[in-house]
């Protein structure tokens, strides 16, 4: 009698864990990126932004599938940026309060949420706020330096 009960319980858990294993194994951790050893020289040549450095991001986190030689790396384009930063609309929405005064750089009166990221943002050199080309004096009163 007791052994039957035990068997039943064990069986139940086996099935349950099989099910949960199946669910869990639907998506497996992606393969590890190739490794680029960080050297002080590389760090100086290709500095990254403080907010990215804080996350200890490695070269190949952005330069995916571009091999392991930094000299061969190419710009990652909008697709690369948005693989973490979601969508241009999402980024625009995060600055919604700026829309009230028509000064949201991610949803400007001129371009909407459609500019290339690297029109303003650079990773390995200082960013260059495109708004400044016409609004040289007043940009500083409505937004901070482009990260």
């Amino acid at each position: 009698m007791r052994s039957k009960k035990t068997l039943f319980t064990v069986g139940f858990f086996v099935i349950l864990s099989a099910v949960s294993f199946l669910i869990a194994s639907e998506g497996s951790p992606p393969p590890a990126s190739p490794h680029v050893a960080m050297t002080p020289e590389l760090k100086e040549k290709y500095p990254i932004k403080a907010h990215h450095a804080k996350l200890s991001l490695r070269c190949t986190d952005c330069h995916e599938k571009q091999g392991d030689n930094p000299e061969d790396f190419k710009a990652i384009g909008d697709e690369g940026c948005l693989s973490c930063h979601k969508t241009k609309q999402y980024l625009a929405d995060r600055l919604k309060f700026m829309d009230a005064l028509h000064v949201n750089p991610h949803n400007s009166i001129h371009d909407g949420p459609k500019l290339y990221c690297d029109e303003c943002h650079n990773e390995h050199k200082p960013s260059d706020n495109m708004c400044l080309s016409c609004h040289s004096n007043d940009v500083k009163i409505w937004m901070r330096k482009t990260p």
Binding site: A24, S25, G27, L55, D61, L95, F97, A100
Partner: protein, 209 residues
């Protein structure tokens, strides 16, 4: 019968019974206390929490999702690894924040600047308690999973990052905008966002009835 009377007369029994009753009532009180002071209805009692609560209520974690499921404030903002730690932090925060609320100058707090410390305010174990399979959930993009693996690899090192390091407005959708409606980051906005703040207040008043 005599035995019963004797037992009833014994002090020990009364103490035991009283103790038990006190215990039950105390636990109930603590439970109720902890429970009632865990959600947005309690937190918003202090007016300075309005923008956070309003943004929370716009978030999927605050009931804005299809399921309407709400995660209480304390789930993410208090340590969840052991009960004593939880109660201790809660009591400590209660005293400190209450003191700031009553005796400090809450209007002078730069909430936006404090967001730099968001990792400190958000307890990862609260997130992971629900998002158990954050490393291998197929619904997360490949990039997301590889970044989550990165997160896990940094855990317990001096480079450790928190969930909120990347998920900047998690739990409070539109937090930066909401904070700006209440306390604009730039002088240029001052007085110009009041109608948005008023709309937020109106919505909150409706929902908190």
């Amino acid at each position: 019968m005599k035995k019963l009377v004797l037992i009833l007369k014994s002090k020990l029994v009364w103490i035991a019974l009283g103790g038990a009753l006190f215990g039950v009532l105390f636990s109930l009180g603590v439970y109720e206390g902890l429970h009632r002071t865990s959600d947005d209805r309690f937190c918003i009692v202090c007016h300075e929490m309005k923008p956070m609560v309003a943004a929370y209520r716009n978030d999927v974690h605050g009931g804005a999702g299809k399921s309407g499921i709400k995660v209480t404030c304390v789930t993410c903002h208090l340590p969840q690894d052991n009960v004593l730690g939880y109660i201790f932090t809660k009591a400590k925060n209660g005293v400190v924040e209450g003191a700031i609320h009553f005796f400090g100058n809450v209007d002078a707090i730069d909430w936006q600047a404090n967001r730099v410390n968001k990792d400190h305010f958000v307890k990862d174990e609260g997130c992971i308690h629900c998002h158990v399979n954050y490393r291998d959930n197929a619904n997360i993009s490949e990039k997301g999973r590889s970044m989550h693996a990165h997160y896990a690899s940094l855990k317990n090192t001096d480079q450790a990052v928190g969930c909120a390091s990347c998920h900047a407005e998690v739990g409070h959708q539109g937090l930066r905008s909401m904070l700006n409606y209440y306390h604009p980051e730039y002088d240029y906005y001052k007085g110009k966002l009041d109608k948005y703040k008023d709309a937020v207040e109106k919505k909150l008043a409706e929902e908190m009835k």
